[in-house]
């Protein structure tokens, strides 16, 4: 391994590496779009020298479904089944931002009970992502056991989603005006039982991952994001908090009834893959605690939806808004424009993956080992469907 990275490859006067493939010192290597070490349908065009990456370029375009354009052709209520597919792994923030944008522009105030139910579904969604995501980080280092344990618990949360919303993956629970159902009978009790299992899991996962010399030696120092990059590259959520910047919409711009909950997002300063794992591990515990608080504080039943105009021809006056919430990956926002018709004029999704997987990932991968690309990518929680909306 070339220890003095400043010498090789040579750089031109613009600071760009001089890469001559004909010299046989470099190799073009594509990671993805079909590759187990990629977080979805995108690919990395890596230029490697030996097993070291000298240049990386993220390619998207494998998944372009034009969702934002599709929304412009749909009634406001019809936007829901489409928008939940903007990010498959965590559909609820999609439901929340689109519904809230419609409500805000349409002048609808949702019932308090619906606010709590929305928070519950948003936190359950975060929980199921983190149950897979935290041990999944170890999975990128071939430590797959925790991932399997996490997937089992995630399945239990999906069972709860099935009870509450009628769907396991695409919940279609939050819709303009409120939500689509109250808590089923006995839901609280069953949920609390599951949270106890997750408490045990949290202890076990600590032993399996964070008390693990393999994980520690691979993750520490890897993919370091300096604090000053947070603003420069548009870093959000847990990745920003791992670099010492407090970014959590729930705390900085409380929405729904988050201001009534007691929580403190974890912030650390190391900025590497290990730090990001620790932050999300703390997020997992915090989410479990928040669900307990929500179940404790929410009312026993009540109205679930405010009466909207007839959804089949609901026209919303001219206006624009930006609605954001905190997804498991970071700030997740929707810029929404209406023009007085029954369909949105423009819908634009702003998720953290766009900056994380493009500009930031290209930068972080330079000088990294090929075997570490998956780890860096997963630590940024990139979600290609969210990039290619």
């Amino acid at each position: 391994m070339n220890e003095d990275r400043s010498l090789y490859p040579e750089h031109d006067e613009n600071g760009k590496p001089i890469i001559d493939l004909e010299s046989h010192k470099f190799l073009k290597l594509w990671q993805g779009p079909q590759h187990p070490g990629i977080t979805g349908n995108m690919s990395l065009e890596l230029t490697v020298s030996g097993d070291e990456i000298v240049e990386s370029k993220t390619h998207v375009g494998y998944l372009h479904r034009g969702f934002e354009k599709l929304l412009e052709r749909r009634l406001f209520v019809q936007c829901m089944p489409t928008s939940i597919r903007l990010c498959v792994a965590e559909p609820d923030p999609n439901e929340y931002i689109v519904s809230t944008a419609v409500e805000e522009l349409g002048g609808i105030e949702i019932p308090d009970n619906a606010k709590w139910l929305r928070m519950l579904s948003l936190e359950m969604a975060r929980l199921q992502v983190l149950l897979r995501g935290v041990p999944g980080q170890a999975g990128t280092f071939a430590l797959g056991l925790g991932y399997q344990w996490g997937n089992y618990l995630r399945d239990l949360i999906l069972d709860s989603f099935e009870e509450l919303t009628g769907g396991r993956v695409y919940h279609m629970y939050i819709i303009p005006g409120g939500v689509r159902g109250n808590l089923p009978e006995g839901f609280k009790g069953r949920m609390l039982e599951k949270l106890k299992l997750i408490d045990e899991f949290v202890v076990k996962i600590d032993k399996l991952i964070f008390q693990n010399v393999v994980f520690e030696s691979r993750a520490k120092g890897l993919g370091h994001i300096p604090k000053e990059w947070v603003d420069k590259y548009g870093v959000y959520g847990p990745a920003a908090r791992a670099s010492g910047v407090m970014r959590d919409v729930r705390k900085t711009n409380p929405y729904l009834n988050y201001d009534q909950l007691d929580f403190e997002p974890h912030v650390t300063t190391e900025g590497d893959v290990y730090a990001r794992s620790v932050v999300r591990y703390n997020d997992l515990q915090m989410t479990v605690d928040m669900i307990r608080q929500i179940l404790d504080k929410m009312p026993d039943g009540g109205d679930i939806r405010a009466q909207t105009p007839n959804v089949l021809h609901w026209k919303i006056p001219k206006g624009e808004t930006y609605v954001k919430c905190e997804s498991s990956r970071g700030e997740y926002g929707m810029y929404f424009v209406t023009d007085g018709s029954d369909k949105p004029r423009r819908a634009h999704l702003k998720g953290p993956s766009y900056t994380h997987a493009n500009a930031l990932l290209d930068k972080l991968l330079i000088n990294a080992n090929i075997a570490d690309t998956a780890a860096i990518m997963v630590s940024l929680a990139t979600c290609p469907p969210e990039i290619e909306r």
Binding site: R74, L75, V77, Q78, M80, P81, T82, L143, L145, Y152, D159, E162, E163, L164, T165, G166, G167, Y170, M172, G178, R180, G181, N182, P184, K204, K207, L208, I209, Q211, N212, V213, V214, E216, D303, I304, R305, Q307, T308, P309, N310, V311, L312, H313, K315
Partner: protein, 602 residues
């Protein structure tokens, strides 16, 4: 190297002795949750095929297919689901106007034939149709995709209207009309049911778009009397309105009135583009300026015919003017509609009767002078019950009294009146007499009876309720037996007996009464309002043999209301109905028929 961190992960071996958490046979051991959104099922008897599910489906996975017989209030269509497109969002369930569409909690279905996965739930039987009641249903309560509550226009209170013939219903304000129009799901079942097949969802949409000129154009496509129908239509559309299955049906009638009210009559010709009608040079005579005659005249003059109406009475409108009290239909609103039709170039001669008598114009003359004749002479004769004493001169027929009120004729208004009849005309005379009594005596003394029971009365529910609010006693379920008459030849009241049922098991009219359960209702005036008869004596003479007569003396016509005499068309209450909108529909169709006859090249 940290030895502890090297060894700690091996604690995972502790799980080796634990039972696996996976389900061995998930297809059998793992039913969907109670709310699971699985395969569709549809209660096809409750479903009316409104198509809201098809409208809301963003994947276009639902098509409505013919599956049942079409009838009033039921399109006969049922949703077919294509599981190649469906995403199981269940918005179709939430929007369903009858709550008939639900999802079961079944989620496994194996078939080698891809066509299987496109099916009509409820018609194509599936095992999950009846296996349990689990699965996705519309969440309850207070969860509706459209407001179910009707916006009521303001109206005069019973105290303010009980002695006044001023119109009692106020129209919608713009906000009210917009809100009411918003509730429509545009299923079009109303259009199918309306005798005139008015473009109801389209004009309601025009209200939502605040384009009332477009609304007026849509109204006049099928109905040239919107001010009138907007007030007194029997609104079969509202009876079948799909929103009525879960909530209040749309106020289609008041919405129609709103469009007509908001368009000033002086702009009608411009809006309806009838400023320059071109004549084709052929002439059509119309007998009777009632709804059917006016409707035929309107469409014929628009098609370029020279139209002349012969009207027996001193003003146009027929039963709309002479049969409906002005608190329901003010005369200026009748005039607004009629004046527009006359302004298109329709000629009208009043006070002329078509018949074979002295001073009358004969049908033969009309047949010779005109290329075609349309007759809509209506039902202006009262029918009598024929009970003992009903031939007394103080026993009146409701059409006569209603006409006298319009004409301003003086007649004795007694303190106590008994009305026999349960239809809308009976309610009209009941409430008119109540107003006259209120003016004269400061109190109401009307008892109205009908053979039918409370819920079977043919009158509109609001007519009955409003009549009661005004102090009338409406006492259905009694059969009149005889009119009691004193020594001076003046009635003292009506003897009635309880009526249990009206029709026998074969559906024939055969009232069953309980002779022991009888009552006497005092009244010095008895009014019979049990339906009207027609006077078509003008047909007598040389043409009678060429006409075919059906049940109840009605002349038989073809679908364009052409009789056995090719130049004679007949419509309105004497052929079909009776009601205004049916009259309008027959007049319109007859106009098309006349045009087809006189211009066969089209």
């Amino acid at each position: 190297m940290n030895i502890k961190k090297l060894l700690t992960p091996f604690t995972a071996w502790g799980n080796v002795t634990k039972d696996p958490v996976t389900i061995k046979d998930p297809l059998n051991e793992r039913p969907g949750a109670d709310r699971y959104r699985g395969f569709h099922r549809n209660d096809v008897e409750a479903c009316v095929g409104c198509g809201s599910c098809e409208d809301i489906c963003e994947n276009e996975a639902i098509d409505l297919m013919p599956a049942k017989d079409t009838k009033d209030g039921d399109s006969g269509l049922r949703p077919m689901i294509d599981y190649g497109r469906c995403c199981w969002c269940a918005l179709c369930v939430d929007v369903c106007t009858t709550n008939s569409l639900t999802l079961s909690n079944e989620y496994t279905w194996i078939s080698t034939d891809p066509e299987d996965f496109r099916y009509i739930p409820g018609i194509d039987k599936k095992e999950w149709d009846n296996n349990n009641d689990k699965g996705w249903k519309k969440p309850e309560p207070n969860y509706e995709f459209y407001p179910l509550k009707r916006i009521q226009p303001s109206h005069l209170s019973p105290e303010d209207r009980s002695d006044s013939f001023i119109e009692m219903m106020h129209g919608y304000s713009k906000d009210q009309a917009m809100q009411e129009a918003d509730r429509c799901v545009e299923c079009g079942i109303c259009t199918a049911t309306c005798p005139a097949h008015m473009g109801i969802p389209e004009y309601i949409k025009a209200i939502r778009n605040d384009d009332l000129e477009e609304g007026l154009r849509i109204l006049y496509d099928t109905n040239p009397l919107p001010e009138i129908c907007g007030r007194i239509c029997t609104h079969k559309c509202e009876t079948v309105c799909t929103i009525g299955h879960k909530g209040d049906p749309l106020s289609i009638r008041w919405l129609k009135r709103y469009i007509a009210d908001q368009n000033p009559s002086e702009r009608y010709k411009k809006i309806l583009e009838t400023e320059n009608l071109v004549s084709k040079g052929k002439k059509v005579a119309i007998i009777g300026a009632g709804p059917s005659g006016l409707s035929a005249a309107h469409y014929l003059v628009q098609m370029g015919y020279e139209v002349k109406i012969f009207e027996k009475l001193a003003a146009a409108g027929g039963m709309m003017r002479y049969g409906i009290p002005s608190y329901r239909l003010p005369y200026d609103q009748i005039d607004k509609d009629i004046d527009y039709i006359l302004s298109l170039g329709v000629d009208i001669q009043y006070n002329i009767n078509v018949g074979n008598g002295e001073g009358e114009i004969s049908l033969e003359t009309l047949g010779n002078d005109y290329d075609a004749v349309f007759s809509g002479t209506g039902l202006h004769l009262g029918r009598s019950t024929g009970i003992p004493g009903s031939d007394n001169k103080h026993v009146y027929a409701s059409p006569d009294l209603l006409r006298w009120i319009v004409e301003g004729k003086e007649f004795e208004v007694p303190e106590n009146v008994v009305v026999i009849g349960g239809g809308n005309v009976a309610m009209d005379i009941t409430r008119s007499m109540a107003r006259l009594q209120m003016k004269k005596y400061g109190k109401v003394g009307v008892i109205t009876t009908a053979l039918e029971g409370e819920d079977k009365m043919p009158a509109d529910r609001e007519e009955i309720d409003e009549g009661r609010e005004e102090g009338c006693i409406i006492n259905p379920g009694w059969a009149p037996k005889s009119v009691e008459i004193d020594s001076n030849g003046v009635p003292t009241g009506l003897n009635v007996v309880k009526c249990h049922s009206l029709f026998d098991s074969e559906g024939r009219f055969n009232p069953q009464t309980d002779e022991d359960n009888k009552e006497f209702w005092p009244g010095t005036m008895i009014i019979e309002s049990i339906g009207q008869g027609m006077d078509i004596s003008y047909l007598d003479g040389k043409y009678k043999d060429q006409l075919e007569f059906g049940p109840r003396g009605r002349v038989q016509t073809d679908e364009y209301y052409q009789t056995g005499l090719p130049w004679l068309f007949m419509g309105g209450d004497i052929i079909k109905g009776p009601d205004v909108i049916t009259g309008i529909a027959t007049g319109h169709k007859a106009a098309v028929g006349i045009d087809r006859m006189l211009n066969p090249e089209f």
